[in-house]
């Protein structure tokens, strides 16, 4: 620790802190224009100069000068004030002073400092800068006339986002922020640049002329897209959301956002929202009152239950329901209907963390202290961009080493020390190969293995076959590269393995998670911060949905349904018997519908016809249902088949909590009144139960959470009264630092055999990879016009060599067919795509990649033909 004096105040700060940081800690504000705590000090604006007694009265920038023992600092003196005023004058000479119509007005640092220092006159005169405003890029507007060249946009894009889209071009007085040759942006459109801009040089085009900064009311809530759980603030004016901002206090994101979080909220206010309940009358969905609709639901469900028993009823929910709603949904099915047939996320997308992974999750902030990363089956920069930022920072700024294993040359591969382009679907063989190499070379952490794990001998035995040559044959990764990767991984002290789960990925997540856990455990990467496996669920409450028991074999906690005392406790609390038999999984529910054993289905926010594999099969199965009720925001393809459609409130229209991938429970706050007659899912579930003659209790989220806390030990300490903007880190996540002393849990090493992917056939020579793109998450984001202005429709990503062989050019229309179906799509030739594999994102209604996939197979094989006919 260092002791120094700032403005006659004794300050104690940690080693390496700058004067600015030390002052901030002591509550002394030093003005800045180019400093941000997320970025490396830059020292360009010269506003933050201070006097240090030991420096003979010279002024020094506090943002980049380290505090040293015994320093005596003054942050304002006549000389300092004069210097700051002169700097401001200089910055204002050519600044257009168009504050009345600048969107940053009211939150502009230059404006605030000019006011604070009373720079009302300028001794210098020159023409105002009058460069044309750049409207070429979607979402971000560039007005270099207002720029103060703080370089924060350039640095955040490089140091945090890792896109390096902006640069300072030219020199001296001609310096400006620009892309190469001023072309339009072709980047991730995260908006971090415009958000960090202290002036109005880069602004949010969606916010343009929407509101003055002081007119808006900010509501703090959680982003509704992926499981990073970024804390956001929705700015409201006249009952509409005018923008979304990252919450600087947010523990998961520290103020950062990606395109989805910043620009994707529009779906909430879409004119296509269903605002009234719909009931099918004479074959058509007709607007109805809530009473009618609830009556119809009750009758439909009751009829099936009475005719075919509770086992003929099933429920599928979205992983975007809040914890409270997911809890009520499974309670409705278990306690009111009497079935365990409840599942979410296609039934397989959650298995990595619901049944595969036995390790507690990693905390995001600790990723920055990792020294090794293994990123496998995870385009984390696209599926969970803000988690990707943390990896960027660790690798680019802090020197962590990165191993990327992915058939596609994903963004992180650029920064990776080792990049393994394995054959699609062979991740398990690769992980086992790494574990095998580590064990045969004796690189494992023997002490940890002995003290904290069991089953090492069985694991060793099961891994015998995974020699480098075997793995080379299976994965296409050369033996020496595998060995190098294994050594690199094992030489770290804190290694994180990152895997993304999601609807598009094949369904071997549980096995994959076990292999990853084995690898982490043999290298001692568990039980300390920044070490372990991060299995990232796809959607905002993917992890919470499992915790709340919205799966067939788990009760809220999650606690195992198979255990009698667990079931008894819930039976007692709910006043209803709970079947011991686990319910049907999602795939089984669809199969059941097809075969006639499932007759009624309740889809709460889930849209299987757009999001699940094998659309044709799902459609046939749903067509056979006696009763389908869909609770939704939009009239989705699934809703269009329903007997009753119940309009639900969006994330911005309700209170509740989400649990993110690090196990952080965070609070949603209602920003908007419900659209039309919509009701929150929680209220609807309670009303449906009531219509069925049962009481689910209150739908007040705080009360529901209190009930959850009383039944789920992990959620014991979660209470609305104490939840802050930083959320609540669940206990097992918080306790993972518990030393490996006596009584500490021993981790099981679980052998996994390789699941060989199907070999390409002559008929279907390509492997189809289906997944998420950076710009979308699930299917909701396709309802946001801002996001669609960047990425409007699915494209087939194909390697240049493959494209050449098929005579396909960029933007050609091609036909892709599999054993399951066929579609036509625009081709995008892209070097990062590995040869022999093509990629289609799954979010879109048409062309829909999932029509090609089959739930029964891990890999989808396709053939690709160029469409030759030309039509008008």
């Amino acid at each position: 620790m260092i002791r120094l004096t700032i403005d006659n105040k004794e300050v104690v700060t940690e080693d390496g802190a700058t004067i600015l940081e030390a002052a901030a800690r002591a509550g002394i504000r030093i003005p800045t224009l180019c400093y941000h705590e997320k970025l490396q000090p830059f020292g360009a604006c010269r506003i933050c100069v201070v006097e240090v007694e030991q420096m003979k009265g010279r002024l020094t920038p506090s943002c980049s000068t380290p505090a040293t023992e015994g320093m005596v600092v003054r942050t304002s003196s006549e000389q300092i004030i004069k210097a700051r005023k002169t700097v401001l004058e200089l910055l204002l000479i050519q600044h257009p002073l168009d504050c009345p119509w600048c969107d940053k007005g009211g939150e502009c640092q230059l404006q605030n400092l000019t006011y604070e220092y009373g720079v009302s006159r300028n001794r210098f005169k020159d023409k105002k800068s009058d460069h044309p405003v750049d409207y070429l890029s979607p979402l971000v507007e560039r007005n270099t006339n207002r720029c103060v060249l703080c370089g924060m946009c350039v640095r955040v894009c490089d140091e945090v986002v890792g896109a390096s889209e902006w640069s300072m071009v030219n020199r001296g007085i001609s310096t400006k922020i620009a892309t190469d040759f001023d072309r339009p942006l072709n980047c991730e459109f995260c908006g971090e640049c415009e958000n960090i801009c202290p002036v109005g040089a880069l602004t949010n085009r969606m916010f343009k002329f929407k509101a003055r900064a002081w007119e808006v009311e900010n509501v703090s809530t959680v982003c509704s897209f992926c499981s990073t759980g970024c804390a956001i603030k929705l700015s409201l004016k006249d009952g509409r959301i005018v923008r979304a901002l990252g919450e600087e206090e947010g523990a998961a994101n520290q103020g950062s956002l990606c395109i989805k979080g910043r620009f994707g909220y529009e779906y909430v206010m879409s004119g296509e929202r269903i605002s009234r309940p719909l009931v099918r009358k004479n074959g058509t969905l007709t607007p109805a009152t809530w009473e009618e609709a609830l009556q119809a639901v009750a009758e439909g469900l009751k009829a099936v239950k009475e005719q075919a028993g509770p086992g003929a009823v099933a429920g599928l929910c979205s992983a975007r329901l809040t914890n409270e709603e997911a809890y009520l949904f499974q309670k409705l099915l278990r306690a009111v209907i009497g079935t365990n047939n409840v599942d979410n996320s296609g039934g397989y997308a959650h298995r990595g963390y619901s049944s595969g992974l036995s390790l507690p999750p990693l905390e995001f902030k600790d990723l920055q202290s990792c020294d090794r990363f293994l990123v496998i089956r995870s385009n984390v920069s696209e599926t969970h961009p803000v988690v990707g930022y943390r990896v960027n920072v660790a690798v680019k700024q802090k020197g962590a080493q990165l191993i990327v294993a992915d058939p596609r040359r994903i963004k992180l591969a650029r920064f990776a020390q080792t990049y393994l382009a394995h054959k699609p679907g062979t991740e398990i063989a690769l992980l086992n190969g790494l574990a095998h190499t580590i064990l045969t070379e004796g690189l494992e952490n023997r002490e940890f293995v002995a003290a904290r794990t069991e089953g090492i001998e069985e694991l060793k035995k099961s891994l015998v076959q995974f020699t480098p040559s075997f793995v080379e044959q299976a994965t296409g990764i050369a033996g020496k590269d595998l060995v190098e990767a294994a050594r690199r991984f094992a030489s770290g002290t804190r290694a994180a393995i990152i895997i993304s789960a999601g609807m598009g990925f094949p369904g071997d997540d549980a096995a994959l998670a076990r292999c990853a856990a084995n690898l982490a455990l043999i290298t001692g990467n568990a039980g300390k911060p920044g070490a372990g496996v991060l299995f990232l669920g796809e959607k905002s409450n993917s992890h919470g949905s499992v915790d709340m028991g919205a799966v067939p074999d788990l009760l809220p906690g999650p606690q195992e349904l198979a255990k009698d005392p667990v079931r008894q406790a819930f039976a007692k609390a709910w006043g209803a018997a709970i079947a011991a038999e686990p319910g049907l999984t999602c795939e089984q529910i669809i199969a059941g519908a097809e075969q006639g054993s499932i007759k009624a289905l309740y889809c709460a926010g889930e849209n299987p016809l757009q999001a699940y594999p094998d659309t044709k099969k799902t459609k046939t199965a749903f067509g056979k249902l006696q009763f389908l009720v869909v609770q939704e925001l939009f009239l989705t393809p699934t809703a269009q088949m329903a007997h009753v459609v119940l309009p639900a409130a969006s994330f911005a229209e309700k209170d509740g909590t989400y649990t993110n991938a690090e196990g952080r429970v965070q609070r949603l706050h209602q920003a908007l009144p419900p659209c039309g007659e919509t009701k929150t899912d929680a209220e609807i579930f309670c009303r449906v139960a009531k219509a069925l003659g049962k009481d689910l209790g209150s739908w007040n989220p705080a009360a529901v959470m209190a009930e959850i806390a009383s039944l789920a030990p992990r959620y014991h300490a979660v209470s609305y009264a104490t939840l802050t903007v930083k959320g609540h880190l669940l206990s097992d996540a918080a306790d993972r630092e518990a030393p490996g002393a006596e009584g500490a849990a021993r981790f099981s090493l679980l052998p996994v055999d390789v699941i060989a992917p199907e070999a390409p056939s002559a008929e279907f020579p390509f492997t189809l990879l289906i997944g998420s793109t950076l710009f979308h998450c699930g299917t909701l984001s396709t309802r946001s016009s801002a996001i669609c202005s960047v990425y409007p429709q699915a494209r087939l990503e194909i390697n240049p060599g493959d494209a050449r062989a098929l005579d396909i050019r960029d933007n050609d229309t091609v036909q892709v067919s599999s054993a399951t179906g066929a579609l036509t799509i625009t081709a995008k030739i892209i070097a990062r795509q590995s040869p022999g594999a093509v990629f289609i994102p799954y979010h879109f209604l048409s062309p829909a990649a999932q029509e090609l996939a089959s739930a029964a197979q891990l890999q989808t094989r396709v053939k690709i033909e160029k469409r030759t006919e030309t039509s008008l």
Binding site: A44, C45, R46, P61, G151, M168, I173
Partner: protein, 570 residues
């Protein structure tokens, strides 16, 4: 020949001495850029052609510059037993005449500049004796160099080899005690001892700030780091100086030796030399010199069997003035924009690629072999108490004989201008002078007695800098001068920090308005205040000193500026 023992150096030394004073005639042509610009290339070609054609027993060698830039092309003739004769300027038309004189043992009287009976290169080096016995009558008319002002008033230590040895022959460098210092350091001294000698020598950086070199090295040696680097700053972005270029073209091995010694002292195994890409000849010779040093075993692994390894890489810079600033230079070396980094951390703590790095300029490094060989105490006796050693001064502007000279620190500016420059050459008196390149202040003739000394110059509002000396005569418009220098900064500011980027532009505008007749007293006050803000807040020395030229003109020539202001009623 590759050697791996210090004692083997003597074999190469013998070869080198045979080349320097051969049994046949040796004709050297000053072929640094200053000479080449005046046609030395043609002279060299012509000499080679004619020597071959006329079957003269002579070797024609391209050498560097000996400082007589005003008299280029310089040709020197060394014949066995005879004094060495310096001729200049030798136009290509006079090559025939010169060769005829060589063949017949005569002298071209009107071209002969000096006679060297023997050459005492440096202390402790046995002089090379050229003349044996009595000087022939034909030569006695030429003044011996030690009796000429230009030579006798110089103290050629770092530039002792320049213009004498071939920059492309490591043997000739070794002949004049080259690499003796490195051999001594590697075999007899501990790294700490080397740093101690440099500290005792009180050598200060020859680049600008005059930071004590020993302290810099010690800081780098003490800094923690798995790798360390030595970086040679050969950026030389000053407009009127070319002595680093000239030095590299004349004696590149001295830099290599200096860097290797620095590497040994601070614990670095790799070095980078950053050279202005426009220095085509210098780069060519430097790269050739590195190759020869590697082939001789004086660079590379396990040098002279000592276990110390050192490698060098040449990096070409774009020639931006700001890249002479050490942190901007490091950025440029790493492939980033040449913009200064915040300091601290200083390069000695966290420099190139984040590792402890010593950045020294060419002249500083050229002093190192001398200090290592002769000791810090010897060095500290030269010059003044606080400014030890010698300084190469590049003399330009209104002088009759521009060029560069090496004088002990403490020599007066007046003496330099009069002795070496031979006055203004225009018949007008000296009006002002500027030391230290564009960042230095413009001082009036009344201060001509000021001594070349870090502290005295700083006190007078200028700086020693890299050693430029720009002379202005009575015909110079001082405001014009201020504008020239301010325009230079406006061109060279990198634009990173706001005060420098905006400030220089405003200075430029104020000068322009004064020149156009719209200037007011207010403008002058504004300049003073802004200069204060720039020196207070700019990020690097470029911005901190950008207003110095204008300010010094205002201070020393106020009437001249005020006379141009807008008059009431005008």
């Amino acid at each position: 020949m590759k050697i791996n023992r210090a004692s083997d150096l003597s074999k190469i030394k013998k070869q080198g001495l045979e080349l320097l004073s051969p049994a046949t005639t040796r004709i050297t042509v000053g072929s640094a850029t200053c000479g080449l610009a005046k046609g030395a290339g043609k002279v060299l070609e012509a000499l080679k052609y004619e020597v071959k054609k006329q079957k003269i027993q002579a070797e024609v060698v391209a050498v560097g510059c000996n400082g007589l830039c005003y008299a280029e092309p310089i040709v020197e003739v060394i014949q066995p037993g005879k004094p060495r004769i310096t001729y200049g300027p030798v136009a290509v038309e006079r090559v025939g005449e010169l060769l005829k004189a060589i063949k017949t043992g005569k002298v071209v009287q009107d071209l002969a500049l000096a006679r060297h009976d023997e050459e005492a290169y440096c202390l402790n080096i046995a002089p090379l004796k050229y003349a044996k016995g009595k000087v022939p009558a034909a030569l006695s008319g030429i003044k011996e160099y030690r009796k000429q002002d230009f030579f006798k008033n110089q103290l050629k230590l770092v530039s002792k080899n320049a213009g004498t040895i071939s920059p492309s022959r490591i043997e000739e460098y070794i002949a004049l005690d080259g690499y003796k210092a490195l051999a001594k350091v590697l075999t007899e001294m501990k790294p700490e001892d080397v740093i101690k000698e440099v500290t005792v020598s009180k050598l200060r950086g020859r680049g600008g700030a005059g930071f004590p070199t020993g302290l810099k090295w010690q800081a780098c040696r003490s800094a923690a780091g798995d790798k360390k680097y030595i970086v040679c700053n050969g950026s030389e972005g000053d407009p009127e100086i070319g002595m680093h270029r000239s030095f590299l073209e004349s004696d590149p091995q001295a830099i290599i030796e200096g860097m290797a010694i620095a590497g040994y002292a601070v614990g670095a195994e790799a070095g980078y030399i950053y050279v202005n890409d426009r220095y085509v000849v210098a780069l060519e010779r430097l790269e050739e010199a590195i190759k020869q040093a590697e082939q001789t075993g004086l660079l590379g692994s396990n040098i002279l069997g000592s276990g110390f390894s050192f490698s060098l890489t040449v990096k070409r810079g774009g020639g931006a003035y700001v890249c002479g600033e050490e942190t901007a230079l490091l950025n440029a070396l790493e492939g980033l924009s040449g913009e200064p980094r915040p300091r601290p951390p200083y390069p000695a703590q966290q420099g190139l690629f984040g590792k402890p790095t010593v950045v020294n300029n060419i002249e500083t490094l050229a002093n190192i072999p001398l200090i290592a060989l002769h000791g810090g105490k010897w060095f500290a006796k030269i010059g003044t108490a606080s400014s030890t050693g010698t300084k190469i001064v590049a003399l330009s502007g209104a002088v009759a004989q521009p060029g560069w000279v090496e004088v002990p620190l403490g020599t007066s500016v007046k003496a330099i201008i009069e002795t070496f420059g031979k006055g203004t050459g225009t018949g007008k008196k000296v009006k002002a002078f500027q030391t230290g390149g564009p960042s230095g202040g413009v001082l009036p003739a009344s201060l001509l007695n000021i001594k070349l000394d870090y502290d005295q110059l700083t006190k007078a509002g200028s700086l020693l800098g890299s050693g430029g000396l720009l002379v202005m005569d009575e015909g110079t418009d001082m405001l014009d001068m201020a504008k020239f220098l301010t325009d230079f900064f406006a061109e060279e500011t990198c634009g990173k920090c706001s005060t420098c980027r905006e400030g220089v532009k405003r200075l430029q505008e104020i000068i322009d308005s004064i020149m156009q007749g719209y200037g007011t007293k207010e403008h002058l006050n504004l300049v003073k205040r802004m200069a204060a803000a720039m020196s207070d807040t700019a990020a690097c020395a470029l911005g901190k000193t950008a207003a110095v030229p204008f300010l010094s003109v205002l201070k020393h020539f106020p009437k001249e500026v005020e006379g141009k202001l807008l008059r009431k009623g005008a």
